[in-house]
Symmetry: C2
DNA sequence: TCAAAAGTGTTATCCTTACACCCATGT
DNA sequence: ACATGGGTGTAAGGATAACACTTTTGA
């Protein structure tokens, strides 16, 4: 066992990958590079003070997006990612929360940014349970069943069945919206994800893989997206990060819709409102909004002070198990 | 905004830093490099399949420790870490759980490993609240008070007071054992941490800094340790990771002591036992143990099946707020 | 007999979740 | 009138945390 620093400078480079999330029109969206289904990324340079500041500088300069909240997701350097064996890229992925408007303006001014916002459910249709079990589920289920049936022996088969049931909320299991990554990994293992079929010479069961909905992405970007969704779904329950995605003022229903968009499931309205107001996360602006039908709703504003107060204590959201 | 991969190979190297934790004799211990107060680290090489497998290979080869559980902590590449401006090291830190015995044997066989286990409370004495508020607190408090008093204006002073109170459980606030990193960061900011005084030309208030107990470490290794402690304290509450630190069979009190060692606070015995048995995390071995005084205790064994069952569902530990 | 640890039973409290219901506005 | 969304009250159920007490061994 040695101490620092024997790290010789090899053919190693570092890339920063940004998963930028906004919620618009009831849809959680991610910034992608057009036509490629890739997440934006940029090299980490010596000029950068730190990884995070590197990311911030680079994203804000190129997109003009106000990056409210930034958090590191994961770092990886799997050999399979690049073909070359003598070169290695370390990828450090970040999750950033923002609002969509910022980009559209910038984008209009200059066309060098071939970026666009896509609903994250384009990539993960099975993760949207707001309208009950999604359509994707029928083909997905048959894929899972095939995978279970293809197990080499009884024990494995039973394990697979159990695992699928728990992860996808089958039988008497309840749907847990946080298990995005685990679901993706199971599907990857079951080769229901096109990404799993790239780069190696294994047989391609086209019939199954093409039938499961959900757009693929380059490299393991969809895996990064899964990680980010999972992280965000977990985080909104105990940290006031939703507000980074909201406009300056909003109604409680808008806030609720935003949470629902992220969680991929509906929440109980009365309890939601109580919990939000109880915790004094928002304050009344005195104004009201007349939107689509119904009684005018009070407009609220996020109480920015809680960021200081509750950097510690935590917050709650009623996203129940049923 | 560009796509992949413009990452040119610069003077960048990657280092893997291992935070290896074991619990022995009621103390949570970390593996350190002797005389240096450094965490073991090694370069990431092209031969490694992935970051995690690189770490595993390297740790297991060099120490012979059985690495049960490994988890990525954080990646950073702050410029301040290395003096040179034309060279950059990316550090990827990992948390690994193990048992101490493994090393001591290996160590005896070969002296090339100048490593030793140190209690993590040597570095964070203020984090141990098992015997009530620790002694360190007296000098720590005066340090905090000084920092609060040194605020440039009333508002800042009040903010500082609030923040210190919340983080350190002063006034009517309760002690939250998970806020290890936040406490460290406050103390760093308040220059109560020797590490904060290195490398830049700012004045050194020796009187204060030398009086706060807790050994320093090289670079930002103590920060990594803080991150790891926080992560572990949070994790044991919802994932059955404690068992990675236990011997094959153990009594419930031993298990409780282990949890207490990690959490840095005592737990309610009857409730602890109930919760453990309720969740069927352990099974009776039929044997008993006669240790230091008292009625013989049943020996239990961790039910490894729950790792599969509960990779998802989660577990609970009664570490209360009071 | 006492100390130390192993256990069991029970209760008070809080939080979560759900149900039931009324209010205000536009079409 | 009714659809749509805003908003309040309250009760059932479960989980948590605490208290009181009995049992079994070794010194």
């Amino acid at each position: 066992m040695r101490s620092l620093p024997p790290a010789s400078t090899q053919a190693i480079a570092a890339d920063l990958i940004a998963l930028l999330v906004a919620v618009t029109a009831g849809d959680p969206r991610v910034l992608t590079i057009q036509d490629q289904n890739a997440l934006p990324s940029g090299p980490f340079e010596l000029a950068h003070r730190s990884l995070q500041s590197g990311l911030r500088a680079w994203v804000e300069r190129q997109t003009g997006l106000p990056l409210g909240y930034v958090e590191q997701l994961y770092t990886f350097a799997d050999r399979d990612r690049t073909g070359a064996a003598d070169q290695r890229i370390i990828s450090i992925s970040y999750l950033g929360l923002t609002r969509e408007q910022g980009l559209t303006r910038e984008q209009a001014e200059s066309s060098q940014y071939e970026a666009s916002w896509r609903s994250w459910y384009d990539y993960f249709p099975w993760e949207d349970h707001r309208l009950g079990t999604p359509v994707a589920d029928k083909t997905l289920r048959s894929g899972l069943t095939a995978w279970i049936a293809a197990a080499p022996d009884r024990t494995t088969r039973s394990h697979r069945r159990q695992r699928a049931a728990r992860l996808f909320g089958l039988d008497d299991h309840i749907w847990n919206e946080e298990l995005v990554l685990q679901r993706y990994e199971l599907m990857y293992e079951a080769r229901l994800i096109p990404e799993a079929l790239r780069g190696d010479g294994s047989p391609v069961p086209t019939a199954i893989t093409t039938s499961v909905p959900g757009d693929p992405m380059i490299l393991d970007h969809r895996r990064i997206l899964a990680t980010g969704i999972a992280r965000l779904r977990a985080k909104i329950k105990y940290r006031p990060v939703v507000f980074e995605l909201m406009p300056e003022t909003f109604t409680l229903l808008q806030l609720q819709r935003c949470v629902e968009a992220l969680a991929g499931k509906l929440v109980h309205k009365p309890n939601f409102r109580r919990l939000i107001e109880q915790q004094e996360l928002v304050e009344d602006t005195g104004e009201t909004s007349q939107e689509t039908g119904g009684r005018p709703a009070k407009l609220f504003r996020f109480r920015r002070v809680v960021l200081a107060e509750r950097a510690i204590a935590g917050t709650k959201l009623p996203i129940s198990g049923t």
